[in-house]
Amino acid sequence: MSEGAVTAGMGRNDFARLLGTMMTQSGETFTLIPTEELVGNSLLPALHGGAIASFLELAAQLALSRTLSPGQSSRLISVNLQFLAPVRLGAISTTPTLMRVGRRVAVVHAEAVERDGAGKLCLAQLEFALERSPSEEKLARNA
């Protein structure tokens, strides 16, 4: 997949669309484009923890959505963030790993790294509830 703003498959999820305009995707790797508005600490400057969390969450959800059937959706239950270093105002990337996709729950790891370096910045473990549309649920029951 060519690199470009991430807007596909977001439907009416407006916050995802907003974040998508701040991201690019290349294959299974997502990159957050550094802009001033993502800053949480203007002195360093460093990105806001919430901005990094939002980026990793959306990347994880998009990676997960590739494995779900069209009628399935995911909704975040919990996120556990471990920051490793201040996230300076530079491009950060993540290639989420699907640790487990079960019937009702999926666990995804997303690690934020400096795009132009080996530095690890933040680890996120995300747990999603998987929901089926009513028609999918019926199909699954009859299967």
Binding site: N13, D14, F15, L38, H48, G50, A53, S54, N80, F83
Partner: protein, 137 residues
Amino acid sequence: MAGDWSLQPGNIPWGNRLGLELVSIGDGLSSLRIGWRRELADEDEALATGVLTSLIDQACGVAVMSRLGRRLAISTLNLKVDHVRSAEARYSATAWAHCYDATEHRAFVRTEVWDTDPSHLIATAQGVFSINRAVGP
């Protein structure tokens, strides 16, 4: 230091971008609110989980400053957020953060987020924050 509004962080671009508002501060507690806007909402018109995590992270930082009574450069070491239920469609969210203990270099914070009523939790969080240095006078 109760109610010392000078402790509120000045320039936090991401918080400003989302529209986080300080409601109250004092005694290690902070309350921050975010109004509903379509661009912050998910497909069910509820405030998105990433928006709530941003609200929580910033509320925690303000609570730490409130406990220590001065403006500080704070960074998040770890943060666990549980999204208990979806926010009601088109509702604002309010975070109550409590910095219940702190050492010289670390502060410990719990947060609850509610929408329609303080008893209607939509998210809870617990985190540890690194206290780097004092900022300004």
